[in-house]
Assembly symmetry: C2
Homo-oligomer: 241 residues x 2
DNA sequence: CGCGTTATTGACGTGTTTCAAGATCTGTGG
DNA sequence: CCACAGATCTTGAAACACGTCAATAACGCG
């Protein structure tokens, strides 16, 4: 891979995601690039933010996957939502933000503070991009609720894979039918309110039906459009335009 | 009920709730009172906002209960969250807000637009109150996810009753151990991802254990504090101060 | 009083969990 | 390059929580 002189040639996942949410001007992109230079790294299985800790400001996930999770005192763990590359974590309108759950790195993870300075500048789309990002987040939470409340294991897995596929797509990290997924079956279980054993068996059923196959760190969707319809996934409306 | 000359004597549930979230000045309270005069009413089982409709502005629920719900095409219904008197519905940072789920009246319901004018006025606490309200909302969503994903039917019911008890309390609508609850068992089932039949049987178990009793439109908690501890409900930290 | 909604019950089916063991993978160090 | 340890995946058998179906009882309202 030769390094190009003109930087914007290969936009980062973050820039690509945010640009899909609102139109960013050159100052915005520059602010993003400069923020990315002050990146921090956290290794897999480590907490990025621990419960009851003070929340840091909004943070952009540059690479790797993370999640918000809540653990009951007897050890039961529920993953509340995933963060994928380009997502903005910890966006909070909370005046005095105290973490009410952990943010944990699921893989090695690199992140940086989300640029704030440019927010007030005329023509900046960053504020809108953050707002859209937050709105999407809530949409994901709501979908997660109906997944957990009203879907079978089979549907839950399929639905989550579709969501991840869409989200990675908007960061330029998925092609039409497949993507890289670093989640273990145990993590999937914690996200979907199931046990590892049952996740395993259901994945086998999905493969046998040729609905989707989850292999070593990759997922292949056999017919994303039809599957999305059968799961009542409305096509995210014209939010991206 | 005789009408008092001096209004603030009996604060509305809305004023009481919002005042608990941030300190409101006289102008804020006046704005609230005046907004309440332009109230609208919707009957039980009717939609307040239907899916794919344009969202109205932020709206304060003055009396009655409502919910956000999502219905799959085969009829399965999941209640995403409840709105109790004093709650602010439809708070959205979304630039071009389109409803992604219904808001339905669970009982007869009265609501009014949330006052906006006073937001920029110096000393107004309304903006902060709305922000806190939104932050609480997200907390409720997250808790709902762990309820659905990792709790048994028994725990789900108990946990939801505790949440409602706390929330009604901050609106001045609950005493130490009990409150009025207009939800049918079918509604509870849709909220908790269970069937009516199983809700019914589990309620009987809860009563038999003297954990809590749900009778005709009232709930009595036998030992809220102990129950909350056993369900890992952290005491909402110092947010209210 | 009668009708629709809501609550209750019983018998039975099934999706998911539990427990426990073994197989496979992955990275690490010798 | 092999051996090893820890993580991850896979499998089977048995238990249980919860769902389904269907019928009846109790409520609440006009």
């Amino acid at each position: 891979m030769t390094r190009m002189r003109i930087e914007p040639a290969k936009p980062s996942a973050a820039a690509s995601r945010l640009a899909a949410l609102a139109s960013l001007n050159d100052a915005d992109l520059a602010a993003l690039r400069s923020a990315e230079s002050s990146a921090r790294k956290v290794y897999a299985r480590r907490d990025i933010v621990s419960e009851r800790e003070t929340m840091p400001g909004p943070t952009i996930l540059l690479s790797g996957w993370a999640c918000r999770a809540y653990t009951l005192s007897d050890g039961r763990r529920q993953i509340l939502g995933l963060f994928l590359p380009g997502d903005v974590m910890g966006l909070s309108w909370h005046p005095r933000p105290t973490a009410t759950c952990n943010i944990t790195a699921l893989t090695d993870v690199v992140f940086c503070p989300a640029p704030q300075a440019a927010l007030q500048a005329p023509g900046s789309g960053l504020a809108e991009a953050y707002a859209m990002s937050k709105a999407c987040d809530e949409g994901f939470l709501l979908r997660h609720i109906t997944r957990l409340g009203r879907m079978s294991a089979y549907e839950r897995i399929a639905d989550l894979m579709l969501e991840i596929h869409e989200r990675l797509g908007s960061a330029g990290l998925a092609d039409g039918k497949s993507f890289q997924m670093p989640l273990t079956q145990e993590t999937l279980a914690d996200a979907l309110g199931l046990t590892t054993v049952h996740i395993n068996r259901t994945i086998q059923a999905l493969r046998q039906d040729r609905t989707l196959s989850i292999g070593s760190r990759t997922v292949e969707l056999h017919d994303p459009v039809r599957l999305a319809e059968s799961l009542d996934r409305r096509p995210m409306s014209g939010q991206s335009g």
